[in-house]
Symmetry: C2
C-alpha cells in the first residue's frame, strides 16, 4: 500500500462524506431522483467542489457502485468461513449475494444500474479501473470455489472454471434482478421469494454434476444453517421461511 499525504486523506474523507449523503438521498427519494444539485445542497460544499470529486453524475453513480461492490465482497469473505461441504460454501456465496440485495436494496439496484449502458462511458478512467478491479475480485471468489471443486473431483462434467463462474454469476444476477425489479410481475409473484435463488442455483449446480447432488443432500437445511451463520456474523435477521414474531 502506498502512503497517503494529508491532503489526499482529507480528499478521500470528503468523498466518503459525499457518498454517505448520496446514499441518504437514495434511501429517501429513490435511485432516479439522485441529483448532483441535491447532493450539493445537502453538503457544505459548492458545485465546483462536487465536480472536483465526480466528473459527472454517472461518475457519482459509479462511485456508489464501488461502495456497493466493496460491501458485497465483505459479505463474500464471510461465506468462505462457513464450514461444510464445498457445494454448501458455494451456496453461501450466493446467499451472501441475496442477503446483500435484501439488506440494502437501493445500493443493490445501483450495482444493476451501474451496468447499464451510458454509465461507464461517462465515468472517469480512474474509477472504471477501480470498478474493474472489484469485479475481478468477485470473479476470483467464484473461481476459487469452482477450482477447488474441480480439483477435488466434486464436479463430474468436463467444464472450465470460466464457464462455471459465468453461468452461476448470470443465474444469480438474473434471479435477483428479476426478483427485485419485477417483484410484482407474474413470473415471480407466483413463487416464494426466500428460496428463489436456492432453487435456481441448485438446478444449475446439479447440471454441472457438483456432488452431492440436490437429491442426495438436504440443501434447504444447508440454506437455513447458512442463514444462521450470517446472522451470527452480521446480526442481520435473514428473510427465511419461518415468519418473524412481530
Amino acid at each position: 500500500m502506498t502512503e497517503l499525504t494529508k491532503a489526499e486523506q482529507k480528499r478521500l474523507a470528503r468523498e466518503e462524506e459525499l457518498l454517505d449523503l448520496a446514499i441518504d438521498i437514495l434511501a429517501e427519494q429513490g435511485l432516479n431522483s439522485l441529483t448532483l444539485e441535491k447532493l450539493t445542497a445537502r453538503s457544505p460544499y459548492s458545485k465546483g467542489t462536487i465536480y472536483n470529486h465526480f466528473c459527472s453524475k454517472e461518475d457519482c453513480v459509479s462511485a456508489l457502485c464501488c461502495r456497493a461492490m466493496s460491501s458485497m465482497l465483505a459479505l463474500f469473505a464471510l461465506a468462505f468461513r462457513f464450514e461444510g461441504e464445498l457445494r454448501e460454501q458455494a451456496l453461501a456465496l450466493h446467499f451472501a449475494h441475496q442477503l446483500y440485495s435484501q439488506i440494502n436494496p437501493t445500493l443493490f439496484q445501483v450495482v444493476l444500474v451501474g451496468k447499464a449502458p451510458g454509465v461507464r462511458e461517462n465515468t472517469s478512467d480512474k474509477r472504471n479501473a477501480v470498478l474493474d478491479e472489484l469485479e475481478e475480485r468477485v470473479n476470483n471468489a467464484s473461481d476459487s470455489m469452482f477450482r477447488q471443486a474441480l480439483e477435488q473431483g466434486k464436479i463430474s462434467r468436463p467444464v472450465t472454471v470460466e464457464t462455471l463462474t459465468f453461468a452461476s454469476w448470470a443465474m444469480s444476477f438474473g434471479s435477483l434482478a428479476l426478483a427485485h425489479s419485477a417483484a410484482d410481475a407474474t413470473a415471480i409473484s407466483r413463487l416464494e421469494s426466500s428460496s428463489l435463488l436456492l432453487n435456481n442455483i441448485s438446478l444449475l449446480l446439479d447440471g454441472m454434476g457438483w456432488q452431492p447432488l440436490s437429491y442426495e443432500w438436504d440443501y434447504n437445511a444447508s440454506w437455513q444453517r447458512i442463514a444462521q451463520h450470517f446472522q451470527q456474523l452480521t446480526g442481520h435477521q435473514p428473510t427465511i421461511n419461518q415468519p418473524s414474531e412481530n
Copy 2:
C-alpha cells in the same frame, strides 16, 4: 377484437410514427440521450401533443418496451415451428431471445431499462396493463414448453412448471444482460460469445434432468440447425462460430 373509430386509428398511427422517431434517436444517440424534447423537435407536433400520447418520459420508454416485447414474441412464435426434440424447441426459444438481442441491441436494452426501478411507477396504468399482458404471453410460451416436457416424462426431477420457467428466464435474462452490458468485463471477455447462452441453458436443463441430456446429444449441432431455421424464416445472418466471408 373491438372496432376502432377513425379518430382512434389516427391516434394509434401517430403513436407508431412517434415510436419510430424515438427508435431513430435511440439508434443514433444511445438510450440515455432519448429526450421528449428531441422527439418533439423531430416530429411535426408540439410538446402538448407528445404529452397527449406519453404521460411522462418513462411512459415513452415503456411504450418502446412494448414494441420490443412484441417483436420478441414474434420471434418466439417462430421457435415453436422448429421441428425436433422438445428440448431442442426449448433451445430455439432461447435462441430467439439471443437473436433479438443481437438484431436489435438498443431495443433489447430498452427491455432491461424498462425493468429498472422508477420506470413502471411513472408509466400510465393503461400501458402497465399492456406490459403485464405481454409479459404473461412470454411466460406462457415458456410454460407450454415445460408443461409438454413434464407430460411426456422428459423431465426426471420433480419440479413445477413455474419453477422451471422462472429459472430458465432468469438464466436467459442474466446471461444476455451481462453479455451486453458488461461485454468488456473480465467474466465475459474470456469466453466465446456465440455459445454463451447455449452453454448456460444446457447446464440448467441438465440440472432439471431434461432428456436427452447434453452428453447424450449434440446440442451444438442443434444450435446450428436452429440458427439456420431462423435464418430461413427471417433472413438474419446469425452470429455463429463460422466466420462470415467479408
